[in-house]
Symmetry: C2
Amino acid sequence: MSGTLYGLGTGPGDPELITVKALRLLQAAPVLAYPAPEEGESLARAIVAEHLPGGQTEIVLRMPMVAARFPAQEVYDWAAEEIGGHLEAGRDVAVLCEGDPFFYGSFMYLFGRMAERFPVEVVPGVSSLTACAAVLGAPLAARNDVLTVVPAPLDEADLAARLRGVEAAAVIKVGRHLQKVRKVLTELELLDRARYVERATMGSQRILPLDSLDEANAPYFSMILVHSRGEAWA
Amino acid sequence: MSGTLYGLGTGPGDPELITVKALRLLQAAPVLAYPAPEEGESLARAIVAEHLPGGQTEIVLRMPMVAARFPAQEVYDWAAEEIGGHLEAGRDVAVLCEGDPFFYGSFMYLFGRMAERFPVEVVPGVSSLTACAAVLGAPLAARNDVLTVVPAPLDEADLAARLRGVEAAAVIKVGRHLQKVRKVLTELELLDRARYVERATMGSQRILPLDSLDEANAPYFSMILVHSRGEAWA
């Protein structure tokens, strides 16, 4: 009997925002796997660190720091082989995924490599999308609003086309695209409707109106929420 | 000292998909409030029923069964007064919200009435959006996909305009709008890219390709996910 691969959403950052189900599976799994930067700490592991019972085997997917559009496929090939070995030996493997595994998550790269060969279960998590709305104290979308989620790496014309006339929008993966996004929102006359959230629910969380943010770049874990009509509940 | 109003996301239906934080606050609150149909059981309360310690005061927001576009404001006025009385007396009140409180949730109607007068904390939950992707075993959105969330009550022309050319889309609140949504997706040649999920993560969950569903109506808790490029991870 092969083990099961679990894709566990850890939630957005506050360790208490993990689900009861993900916590149970996390603590029971003999093997954990998670992404980490080339050097330094894994955010996904840091989120769950206080919940770990100790004694688990850990597979660290060190992601090369390249400006490539997609993460290095070689790391996922290697990890799929490592993880596959444990699953074949009957050991469950829990992959830690910041936020939700299937909301713009890198888990899909493992999922695509493993799902046809092994049992896989995805445990959804609280995504950064709803976490940002919660810490802002403003509904993300309401009634019959259309909600548009737009990745900031899109080029300027594409961003403008996607954000023109939106009711509610979330611009994700802001990072080094901050200036471009601000320019587009200014041209669309949405700047004063836009709020910036950095590291929602983490200790280092920061929230401010986008028009008062004067930095050139933002961290990867930042998001801009826009409500074209102002407060959605008004 | 007044009490705090907590908007607690219960998650999409599986009682284990509540967060550790919402569970803690739920069990500690002396007063609970939740929506329910005019007659019968509250889904939000049913999701958390197994976690309740007993002995809590419960405020039931019975929503009138009208075809009105927005729920009856009178019920929220009444509930705000009831809840406000407890808060003024120093008792915390936990409002149970299916999924996430700020993702198309009715919590905003209470939030709008209470947030200026009392301390309010919103605890985000796993939304139906990522729960549906998890049970489908398919990424909701990936890489630089734009994700569009479209409420099914929009009229046919509006639905078509919003869904034309989408990369990834979720049509929510399907209910009695099923035929209209299917017609629009067929005309946009997206029918074979669309999958239907009913009551994700609940015992009564149902998943099928939209083109094999032959009912006239769907339950309110149903969603259609579309990936225009097929499998997002491929």
